[in-house]
Amino acid sequence: MSDKFVAASDEVWRLQRGDDPESLFFQEMAHHGHYGSGRGTKQGIYVCAPSGEFLASANSLSAEKIRAMMERGLAAWSRLPEEKRFLSEDAAIEPKGRWELFRPEGGMILSSYARDLPAGAGPFGSEASGYNKDHAWFSADEMRRWLPAELVVGAEHRLPVDLLQRVLCFHLVDSVLGQTLPYSPDEVQGEIVLRITRVEGDRCDLEIRGRSSAQSDGSWNLGENDWKPKSGLFPRGIKTEITGKASYDNSQARFAAFELLVMGQRWGHTRFNGRVAQKEASAIAFFFELAGEKPADRVPPAFIDIYAAAWMGR
């Protein structure tokens, strides 16, 4: 059935409250959907015409209900007069201020995956649990700052504190079961050390070691932004050990390979990260690697709006 549609996905928070052309176009369509025209969430799955004409929608975990909704959408599309189907020439949907526009081309884009580690078992014979993913962005200048000044065997380099804090505050967070809150710089400590193990021509190999600890008493120390909880305290923590390897191509000024394994434990919960009922600490792991070039790889990091990096331009 999917070949009867063009499929897209997006972050709803900006779309449902923004005043840019793309967001307003979405709001006009979604106000006819399952959550109506109120100010609440518009999460869900929609079928609409390219003109913005609403056709069907639902928010359900039931595959059958979604299939039925898609069939209703196709039926409505088939009934829709030709003149109401397509985007009018004067329609404004141009995205403005999307974080994707700040993707640091020429920098280092990492994909990260977070999973719970199995208790009493390992990767052999145990099925992995659910996972969450994210991206971590570093500009070209920041990517170079992952490296020792001199690319010679044995050179060691401690990741600068601003980049370390980006990793620890925004990427080593317990989002396995759902979006969570970041840590503030004063809540994290640790180190990531890179050492060059081999140099051959323009290419050098590095090993990466490190550790991290983050602990929050639940208070919010990151100022006024969309992540600030409206109420409640969320004490939580995570501590990890880090290992990895990378290969840097000096002639291309880019990493040809980058793999980081992070294993440790987390405790506590936030409002939406699915840990409310889990009172005890448990094991967690992350894996980071270079992102690809598929459309999904352009999705910005969850906490991009509080990266506070100069290259983001706002």
Binding site: S9, Y46, R85, H135, E280, A302
Partner: protein, 94 residues
């Protein structure tokens, strides 16, 4: 010790410490060990990456990553748009 054996050991320790677990106090649990060993990267990498089954929904359907791109592509293709929107991007951290 291989990671799964370390975790098994940790699991046994957890059983022995069930009384303290029953109290379920917030905070780190010293019985959960996480010392990394040589070879762990290779051992755990493929387990942590999304499996083919995990990623099937993204691989089988060419999802575009924004509403505006979807509208424009649907307009070109003369098809309706199927749009999935969530708090947190469905193709990213959600």
């Amino acid at each position: 010790m291989l990671p799964y054996l370390r975790l098994l050991a940790a699991g046994l320790s957890c059983c022995m410490l069930s009384a303290s677990h029953a109290r379920a106090q917030l905070g780190f649990d010293e019985s959960i060990r996480h010392e990394l060993q040589p070879g762990d990267l290779e051992i755990w990498r493929d387990w942590l990456r999304p499996s083919a089954e995990d990623a099937a929904w993204m691989e089988a359907i060419p999802w575009l990553p924004s509403f505006a791109e979807g509208i424009e592509k649907a307009n070109e293709a003369a098809k309706p748009l199927l749009l999935w929107v969530m708090n947190g991007h469905p193709l990213g951290c959600t």
